[in-house]
Symmetry: C2
Subunit: 346 residues, 2 copies
């Protein structure tokens, strides 16, 4: 039975055509394609020449059918979409992962598990083996998708330290910036510049970034001999508007605050506009430190002093660790150092 190919596209050359032109068997062509082991130099040369003259490109579907591997990787977002798509870091991460995978000739499938239906669909798709591994962007507690993928034995590497407990200790790699240390560095900087009433706007406390940066804030304050006052802590959700709202709360509770450590640049933008509306000058009246060093830091007025997360390295490491896991290595955890970027706001 022949499936008629559309008339516009001529039949693409197959391994059989290459074999004929090279004067060898299809098995030999395949061996050349797969590393060239157990093939004489002569045969290999003939095959490579034939590949060139025929314009042969491997049919990945046929290959996948027999190897059982798809040759592709998913980039999976299980957050509510808005949050991450609003985040300038997301772009950097996505671009970095795409580029790193391209190096290995592995296409990236973008998947967004916003709704329950989508989650089910994606879980089915991935566990059906349509993808060899998953780069996961999701840091919330009890992510059912991540949980199921890991249980199903799919290699998964998360961005940020995973918090879903069911999975802890399982075959789940991750790559994260050193959130706690970064937060400490920022608070240290604020203290060193003479601030004494330092508030913080945290990320969601069911995310590692939320928890760890708050912990770093508290540790550094305590280490500096400053009181740790819960009235100085407000929680946001990483969005600009939540940063504005949290800052308004803080200002109402502690009118005397003279510095703010905000757990993301985007929230810091919101903090800046609340401060400006309240007539507080930055940094003279209130110093503001952000986190991420995303494009939002440069767009802010004044430009944000912030903690740089090495996103380019994070994406490269995520891909490296995932590929290793797909090759059977055990899941690795990689923690990357952060860096203080000094600008105008603190």
């Amino acid at each position: 039975m022949r499936v008629s190919s559309s008339p516009s596209r001529p039949r693409r050359p197959t391994i059989h055509d290459v074999a004929r032109v090279a004067g060898v068997s299809r098995g030999t062509v395949s061996r050349v394609l797969n590393g060239g082991h157990h093939v004489s130099q002569e045969a290999a040369d003939a095959v490579n020449a034939a590949i060139r003259t025929t314009g042969y490109v491997v049919n990945r579907h046929a290959r996948s059918l027999i190897t059982g591997r798809s040759g592709s990787v998913a980039f999976l977002l299980t957050e509510p979409q808005e949050r991450f798509f609003e985040d300038p870091n997301f772009n950097v991460l996505l671009r970095g992962c795409t580029a790193a995978l391209a190096t290995h000739d592995i296409p990236l499938l973008l998947m967004i598990a916003g709704t329950r239906t989508e989650q089910r669909r994606i879980t089915r798709y991935v566990t059906a083996g349509h993808v060899d591994g998953v780069l996961l962007v999701s840091s919330h507690t009890g992510d059912p998708v991540a949980d199921q993928l890991v249980r199903a034995g799919i290699p998964v590497v998360a961005c940020g330290k995973p918090m879903f407990p069911a999975v802890r200790g399982a075959r789940l790699g991750y790559v994260a910036a050193d959130d706690r240390d970064g937060a400490r560095e920022m608070v240290r900087h604020l203290v060193a510049s003479g601030r004494r009433r330092i508030g913080t706007v945290t990320g969601p406390l069911d995310t590692p970034g939320g928890v760890e940066r708050l912990a770093g804030y508290r540790e550094e304050l305590a280490g500096s001999g400053l009181p740790v006052d819960d009235a100085l802590v407000a929680t946001g959700d990483y969005s600009r508007s939540s940063g504005a709202a949290a800052t308004a709360d803080l200002l109402a509770r502690c009118p005397d605050l003279d510095a703010l450590f905000v757990a993301s640049d985007l929230m810091a933008q919101g903090a800046l506009s609340t401060l400006s509306r309240a007539g507080r000058r930055v940094p003279q009246d209130v110093a503001v430190g952000g986190f991420d060093d995303s494009s939002a830091a440069l767009a802010a007025r004044p430009e944000l002093t912030t903690i740089r997360q090495p996103w380019d390295r994070i994406s490269a490491e995520m891909v490296r660790v995932l590929l290793a896991q797909m090759d059977g290595e055990s899941a690795a955890a990689v923690i990357l150092p952060t860096e203080l970027v000094h600008r105008e706001s603190a």
Copy 2:
């Protein structure tokens, strides 16, 4: 010959298992899977039940091997990466396309053709049939990738009106906002508010957005009986910094300008900071109108009056048109209306 499956993952059920459980042949199962034509209700019910009990999921590789279709679509970026990844619209577009395709159970492959090498790799990948269609984000003249894909007969739908001449009239669909009309609307608004020396910062003039918005600016000015002065025109590249630089030029050349139509919100952000550094108040001294209604418009201070591009509809239309093209329909062009969003800057 059996490829040993990894011990951790049990063999997945195949069409054969479903057939056995349902008590029918594999052909019948396949027919049910592919629309259920020529199948009795009884058989269909039995098959569906068997699919449920076995947890069967189709093996797409096997299906693709025989149908010759991959069942996936590429989202291809051929711009220098930085520009688009800096653009907040990009996220909206990417998310929208992913969601629209997901509706049809079609995965989106993200491809970035930054370097020459990448372009070659991607062209080979796509023309080899690894993807059934391409959503193209690239508006520059003479894009070699787009050109080759269209020539190879791959269904392609571009975001924005394509400018590469070699391809014009070929099987290339596109979806675009009405750039010219949007520009006219903004200039009309500026004129109506009493502005007389209206400058513009254009996009790159080898992009339709650059060309069309400039044309709209000129048309509306002429229609309003205002002089069209080339000293009032400066060109940017859609980046924030280029908007800042172009505005500085304009201010030097025409210190008396009282309004600015900036062809993107991001560039308008740059314009705003140049204006602020120059001591010009917005909108009192200089009114500033943007274009896009991206998240940058809301982040700007003052908030930007801008032209809204209907990105959600653009992505949905791109997918619709591409799918139609993949089904053999001819390439369509869709122009979507824009809308003035009135905020603080003008």
